[in-house]
């Protein structure tokens, strides 16, 4: 009703992105950075146009997206399940806390030799790294979400003798859902980051490998074009997540606030 005053979010978002592109165009044009190292938007765009017209690019994009989606799916399912189980059983929580904290900061990149050892440059390698990194994102968020259950709501469920499953399904899950969404959004981009990094370093096919090639070949505009593709993927993924969030979290304070005056 008041969207005119507030502005259309899509429009505003596009304005934000346009501002970024303009800045990238101006920085080298004004001589603030050397355009050989950071080419202006227009040059990147033309390199991007060249890339887009090749079949190899779409093949790489497909490979990256596949690794991303598969890894993310595994990580989210595993993270949510583990989070709900660990979070709702205090003993398990105490038991696993130290191990989780130990494993979490181990960088995926340090695991590359291990991954290659197990899977070579197959999809398996990338998946291993993607899953490892994004699993923790989801897990930690879900753990915090489970801890956030309103005691009165929890007791209401207990007093009506909800089954364990009922409590998870109807109380724990909805409370944790906003956290799951944050976790999902974090994991989605971490998965993308890792998918590309793995391809970059190991050389399994995908955008990352193309970036590595462009880098090694001093093809700077092409490299940036591919980076832009990565970023654009991130924006699209976020857009989709947001849409899902608005549908599933209509009841939540954070979303509710957008409806009330």
């Amino acid at each position: 009703m008041t969207s005119a005053r507030r502005g259309n979010p899509v429009l505003l978002g596009s304005a934000g992105l346009a501002g970024l592109l303009l800045l990238l165009e101006l920085l080298p044009r004004l001589g603030l950075v050397d355009e050989r190292f950071l080419p202006p938007t227009s040059r990147i765009a033309s390199a991007l146009a060249d890339e887009v017209s090749t079949a190899v690019f779409w093949q790489s994009l497909g490979d990256t997206l596949y690794a991303w989606a598969a890894g993310l799916l595994i990580a989210v399912v595993a993270g949510v399940l583990a989070g709900l189980v660990i979070g709702s059983v205090p003993v398990l929580r105490a038991l696993t806390a130290s191990t989780v904290e130990f494993l979490r900061p181990i960088p995926s990149v340090a695991l590359i030799p291990l991954a290659v050892l197990l899977y070579g440059t197959d999809l398996g390698s990338t998946l291993l790294l993607v899953c490892y990194a994004s699993f923790w994102q989801v897990l930690v968020q879900v753990l915090y979400g489970v801890a956030d259950v309103d005691p009165v709501a929890e007791e209401t469920a207990r007093s009506f003798r909800f089954s364990a499953w009922g409590r998870v399904r109807y109380v724990l899950w909805p409370t944790a859902l906003p956290y799951v969404f944050t976790g999902f959004r974090l994991a989605a981009s971490v998965a993308l980051v890792l998918a590309i990094t793995a391809e970059l370093v190991i050389g399994s096919p995908g955008l990352g490998k193309d970036i590595a090639t462009a880098q090694a070949s001093d093809a700077v505009p092409t490299m940036y074009a591919l980076i832009v593709v990565t970023g654009a993927l991130g924006v699209i993924i976020n857009l989709l997540t947001r849409t899902g969030e608005r549908r599933l979290l209509a009841w939540h304070q954070s979303v509710r606030g957008e409806v009330a005056v």
Binding site: R6, G7, P9, L12, G13, A15, G16, L17, G19, L20, V33, L38, A94, L95, A97, S98, T99, E101, F102, R104, P105, I106, P107, V109, A110, P113, L117, Q137, V140, Q141, Y144, A147, D148, P151, V152, P178, Y179, T182, L186, S189, V193, I196, T197, L200, G208, I211, I227, T230, G231, L233, G234, V235, I237, N238, Q253, S254, R256, G257, E258, A260
Partner: protein, 258 residues
């Protein structure tokens, strides 16, 4: 008694896992996964006090600087974005854009602007670990109870006090979740940033071990990273406990058996 039990629970699983690892790997012939026994020996030989001073200390300093800076920027920006719908609409795609770019790809670009010193490494850390803080702060701020907000408004709790006394405390549980996550990401990025243009540091040392095929030493470095992460998260947990005692109390009050 209670503390003893907690400590017992905390170390039980690691002990089991390490014992399992030790036992399973004992006869390992594989060059890349040597027996844990060898790794532990290497650990003692590698991580001497001198090593800790020259390699671990600088890493830790960069890590802390990066983490604190990320916390500062992340919370500040997060609050602003969480409170202002229009700002959120404008910035969200841009932020999502940067969030999706892998740090290893971005390092060269950052190097362009920040050179190759510690500054570059700190920026890389900030760049990578700011996201969970930012996202959680935004969500936490947006989720502030409407009655709480109304109360604050009605009593003229506005301006800075609204921020420090109402918005931030109310969002603090979720901000803590973000900080916690950022901490381990910061460690990961510490390693990544030291893979480029570096001549000391924990990450550099591990990568160096890996390249020079000192595999037991490399594993010992990874274990050290894990230990470091564990220690830092323990510290963080203590700080969180203290800062969020109201929240823990609130949650625990009605749960505790007596």
């Amino acid at each position: 008694m209670d503390i003893l039990k907690k400590a017992g629970l905390a170390i039980a699983l690691p002990i089991v896992l390490f014992a399992g690892w030790f036992w399973l790997s004992d006869g390992s012939e594989n060059f890349y996964s040597p027996p844990l026994r060898t790794i532990l020996t290497a650990f003692g030989d590698t991580w001497t006090l001198e090593r800790l001073r020259t390699d671990v200390a600088p890493s830790l300093l960069r890590l802390l600087a990066g983490f604190l800076l990320a916390a500062l920027i992340g919370i500040g920006l997060g609050v602003a974005i969480g409170l202002n719908r229009r700002l959120r609409a404008v910035l969200e795609p841009v932020l999502e854009f940067f969030r999706a770019i892998p740090p290893p790809v971005l390092v060269p670009v950052i190097m362009l602007f920040a050179g190759i010193g510690d500054g570059m490494k700190v920026i890389v850390i900030v760049f990578g670990c700011i996201w969970p803080i930012l996202l959680n702060t935004v969500e936490g701020v947006r989720a502030t109870d409407s009655v709480v907000l109304d109360t604050a408004r009605a009593y003229g709790v506005t301006g800075p006090a609204r921020l420090t006394r109402v918005i931030l405390p109310s969002a603090s549980p979720q901000i803590a979740a973000g900080l916690r996550q950022a901490l381990s990401i910061a460690i990961i990025l510490m390693v990544i940033s030291e893979m480029f243009a570096s001549s000391n540091g924990l990450g550099f040392t591990i990568v160096q071990f890996q390249r020079s095929f000192a595999i037991p030493e490399m594993w010992s470095g990874i274990i050290l990273l894990g230990l470091l992460g564990f220690a830092l998260s323990l510290l963080f947990r203590l700080a969180e406990r203290w800062a969020l005692r109201w929240y823990e109390g609130l949650r625990a009050a009605q749960r505790r058996a007596g």
